[in-house]
Amino acid sequence: MSGREGGGGGTRGGFGRGRGRGGGRGGAKRGQRRRVDEKEWVPVTKLGRLVREDKIKSIEQIYLFSLPIKEHQIIDKLLPDSLKDDVMKIMPVQKQTSAGQRTRFKAVVVIGDSDGHVGLGVKCAKEVATAIRGAIVLAKLSIVPVRRGYWGARLGDPHTVPAKVSGKCGSVNTRLIPAPRGTGLIAAPVPRKLLALAGIEDIYMKSTGQTRTLANFVKATFYAIEKTYCFLTPDFWPQTKFLNAPFQEFSDYLQKPQEKKVPVAAS
């Protein structure tokens, strides 16, 4: 069987011993691939199923209810072509063991569509390949919306952060300050990539601390960008009407008393 099929021979046979025995009845020819294509995404979570059936059309709806996104294919489906990812750094990190040093690779990947969505993924693994793949998946899972605003007059599209925001990770403090149109990204080279992928066109940035620790520096910038939607500006002063979150409904459903039995149907 090995070598005869692409992804590993399987049969219709029973599980356990004697695979292939007895189950060939009604089966396909040996060596035939199964019906479902491997590349197709089969969702695992309820949110994934809804996205795949196109019941949820935009990622903003998911953000509105703060639903956790657990499958990266959801992001692929909702933001199909515009996402660009970039490996910021792959660094070996070492751990001292009794048998010498053990080296693992840490990959930092940023992903974004230059129009208001960014994600950051950091993954440590024994091989570079695994680290990159894991980091891309984590980056997609961590995609957040970025709020952009104006420095001065409200002409044209938003181009900078709406207010001064700051983020902290480890010893690194970063502060993003709105800048007039045409300024460009006045920031260190490392976070500049992240800001460009976020869709921010003009910014002043001030950073403090040990910025050479790249993972912390990038994470601090990411937290600062995340905070743009947490900042209460006068636009949000009018009262918001809150919808019942689906989680709320879900938890009501979960809390339905299990002792209560639905009466047995008359048979």
Partner: protein, 412 residues
């Protein structure tokens, strides 16, 4: 292929959905999803009813899983209740195990088939049928006498002619009605249209009127407002009949769990581009250390579950009796359900021996469960773990034995 030279640690076997069953061609040795259960001894087959609401439970999956060193045919049948009020509750699911003594096989030592694994596989191709096994070869006809007995077949199941004794008994009991593939109309009580819709069982009626309990079981509007996410997460209140539901049957294709695939082209490009721009220096990354990377949603169990499932996409079932790998979980197993303790689930209820993890159903199965009588998703669940008796206790006169199951929901 997997057996050649492998050590005692075997792989987890994965089940993938395969073709639809078209001419009701299945017996108790077929692995399938949906359809009607093919009992080993169908005369005393139980009709499973939901413990919570009493409606009949359709078959979800039937797995043929004989054990090593055993003379028995062994099949597991898993049933569930499709009423929306019973979703995600352990007591609306049940798993039966049925065994049948293989009359032609005496006790055998574990056949050292590892070395002759490939022989068996190659010989077994001579089944004499060139087209799909769907056509021809009814159960009772012996297979061609020319086809050689597979060498070194594990368990040594003999050719079809020896099965005549068993199969003759089965065939007359097998009453595989043809699937009613047309849309149910008019008088059919399962119809979604027509005047019979509201003359249903009390079960549905109860759900409709019971507003405060079934707060999230709202009336299913024909045009779902797609941007209204809360509604999408609510269990729909379709009028689901309490009997006569069946899932569309399909075969299960069994495969090994493969290790993760190689880097995709896109990832390779990224790596190349990165290497071009910088140099991978061997020194430390300026004070960076190892950090445990958990995803932003924070649920490590889900992340591990989903990553493992996505390494072999399309899997719906994991069979792990022969593997030392633990089952994939959404929550830790000691998690106490509201009214049950895990203690009650630790021993076989029939013989008192310990339980062993046998198989688990994955939430990907939900996508494949279809039923003609129900629009949309018939049932939802997180994962269903089946723990079976380690000795597979059985007494020959019995019809079925119930196995312990654990149901886990996905956490939001």
């Amino acid at each position: 292929m997997a057996y050649g030279g492998k050590s005692a640690r075997s792989n987890v076997l994965l089940g993938f959905p395969d073709e639809y069953i078209v001419d009701n061609y299945s017996d108790f040795r077929t692995n399938k999803i949906g359809g009607k259960p093919d009992w080993c001894v169908s005369s005393s087959a139980p009709q499973p009813a939901c413990q919570l609401c009493g409606s009949t439970q359709p078959l979800v999956t039937q797995i043929y899983a004989p054990l090593d060193n055993s003379v028995y045919h062994r099949t597991l049948y898993i049933f569930c209740c499709v009423q929306p009020a019973c979703w995600n509750q352990r007591r609306s699911w049940v798993c039966y195990r049925s065994q049948l003594k293989d009359k032609t096989v005496t006790d055998q030592t574990p056949a050292p088939t590892f070395s002759s694994g490939t022989d068996w596989l190659e010989d077994a191709d001579d089944w004499g049928d060139d087209d799909n096994g769907n056509v021809g070869e009814p159960l009772t006809s012996p297979s061609s006498p020319d086809s050689p007995t597979p060498q070194g077949a594990v368990g040594g199941l003999p050719q079809g002619r020896h099965l005549d004794n068993i199969s003759a008994d089965i065939k007359e009991d097998l009453s595989l009605k043809s699937l009613n593939l047309g849309p149910a109309t008019g008088d059919d009580p399962n119809a979604n249209v027509g005047e019979n819709v509201n003359t249903h069982t009390g079960v549905s009626a109860e759900i409709e009127h019971d507003d405060e309990v079934a707060g999230c079981v709202s009336v299913d509007l024909p045009d779902v407002d797609t941007s209204n996410i809360p509604k999408l997460f609510q269990a729909k209140n379709a009028i689901i009949p309490s009997t006569g539901i069946e899932f569309t049957p399909m075969y299960i294709w069994v495969g090994d769990e493969q290790p993760s695939p190689q880097l995709s082209q896109h990832e390779l490009n990224l790596l190349k581009q990165f290497k071009k721009e910088t140099e991978l220096d061997a020194g430390g990354g300026g004070g960076d250390g190892y950090e445990k990377c958990i995803p932003v949603h924070g649920d490590e169990y889900s992340h591990k579950f989903i990553s493992t499932v996505q390494k072999n996409p399309g899997q719906v079932l994991r069979y792990g009796r022969n593997s030392s790998d633990p089952p994939l979980l959404f929550q830790p197993l000691e998690f106490r359900q509201k009214n049950e303790t895990y203690e009650s689930l630790k021993k076989c209820s029939h013989c008192g021996s310990s339980l062993k993890f046998e198989l688990q159903l994955l939430p990907t199965l939900v996508t494949y469960l279809e039923s003609q009588d129900i629009d949309g998703t018939p049932v939802e669940f997180g994962t269903l773990l089946v723990f079976s008796c380690a000795n597979s206790c059985w007494s020959d006169g019995e019809a079925v034995r119930e196995e312990t199951i654990v149901l886990q929901q996905e956490t939001m």
